[in-house]
Symmetry: C2
Subunit: 228 residues, 2 copies
Amino acid sequence: MSATTEEVPPAAYTPTARTVPTRSRERASYDRGLVHSILDEAYVCHLGFVRDGVPVVLPTLFGRVGERLYVHGSTGSRPLRATGDGTKAPGLPVCLTVTHVDGLVLARSAFHHSLNYRSVVVHGTAHRVTDPEELRTALDALVDHVVPGRSADSRPANAKELAATAVIRLDLDEVSAKVRTGGPNDDPEDAALPHWTGVVPLRGGYGTPVPADDLDPSVPLPDYLAAL
Amino acid sequence: MSATTEEVPPAAYTPTARTVPTRSRERASYDRGLVHSILDEAYVCHLGFVRDGVPVVLPTLFGRVGERLYVHGSTGSRPLRATGDGTKAPGLPVCLTVTHVDGLVLARSAFHHSLNYRSVVVHGTAHRVTDPEELRTALDALVDHVVPGRSADSRPANAKELAATAVIRLDLDEVSAKVRTGGPNDDPEDAALPHWTGVVPLRGGYGTPVPADDLDPSVPLPDYLAAL
C-alpha cells in the first residue's frame, strides 16, 4: 500500500551450500529478524580470515546498519590491511560469527549434555570503507552498538582519528542462525537413572556504572545508562 | 626439591610471530595460569578452520586437560571429517578463540569507546582422538567443563555413543591472552566535555535450575548446582 520506492528485503536469507549445517538442521534458521536480534545483542563478534594459508579468529567490535555489518580496527591491524584500500581491492574472505550461551543442558547421560545457545554465522567478502560519509555512519553504528544512543552523546571523531581508523564492511547475504532451546533429550531407557537433569539458565546483566576517575561529579548518569 | 619425573611446564608460553599482536601489545600476556583461567571460564570457543580456501568459524563446546584442549563434534561434522582418522592424517590447521566481555568502556570521545575483555587465541593443528582411553578422558573433560564434577554424576557414554562421537585435540603451545581492564583513555583536551564517562560492568550469572519435565521430584538438586 506504500508508495515508497525503498527496497524491502525478503523475510529470510536464502540458504546456500555453506549455510545449511551438516548437523542439527532443525536448529537452523534464515529468518532476517532473528538474525538481526542475535547480532544486535552481542558486544563482540569472532572474525575469521585466512593468513598464510591458516585460519585466524579474532574477537572484535562490530555494528550493524540494515543489511551491512561494520567491523572496526586500526589501519595497522592485519585483517584490515588485507582488505586493501577500498573497492579497487578484491576484498578479504571472512566468516563472522556471534554466539550467545543461554543455558547449561544437563542430561542423565554424558552423551546428551549440551548448551542452549543462539548463534549467527555470516560468510562473505569484507571490503574497506573509504567513502567519508559511510565511514561516519559506520563509526556511529559501532558506538551505538555498545550503547544505543551513545554516539549522539560523545564527541565525534576528528580528521586525525578518522584517518587512524579503518572500518571494513560485510554485507548480510550468506547468513544463517542456529538456535537450541528447551530441556535435555535423554534416551527413554535412561529415564530411571538417579541423576538430576534439567537446565541451568545463564543470565547476562549490567553492574552499577563506574564513573571515570576524572569525571566531574556533577555530571549525572544519563537516562540511556540508568535504563540498562 | 621433588623427586618426581613429571614435566612441569614453564610459567609462560613462548611468543611467536603470530601470537604477538600488531596492536595494543601491552595488553598481551603469555602467562599460563591466566590463559587457563580464561579458557576454563568459557562455555564455548570459536573454532576457525579453512574450507575450500575460505575461513569458517563455528562455536563449539570444548574441554581442557592440562595443556590439551578437546573439541567435540559429530563424526559427520565438517571440521572433524577434515582431521582424518587419527595420527596418520596430517591434521587440520585451526585457530581456537575464547572471549569474555567484562565491561562497556564509554569515553567522552567516540574514538576512545572500547570494551573491557579477556581473550585467548590458540593456533595449532588439530588431530582426531582415536585412543579409547584418551577419548573417555576427553569426554569427561567436556562434561566437566560445563559443570565441574558432573561427569561423575551422569551415565558414561556407551559403545554406540562413543562410536558416534568425534573429538579433536589441540595442544596449548602457540597461545596468547589479551586483556583490557580499567577506565576510558580519553585525550586530556576532552576532559571538560559534558558527557558522562566511565565503565558499565557486565555480569554473568546463573538463574534458578529448571528441572526436566520428566525428572522425579524426589531427586534433589545436587550440591554442585546449588553452589553455582
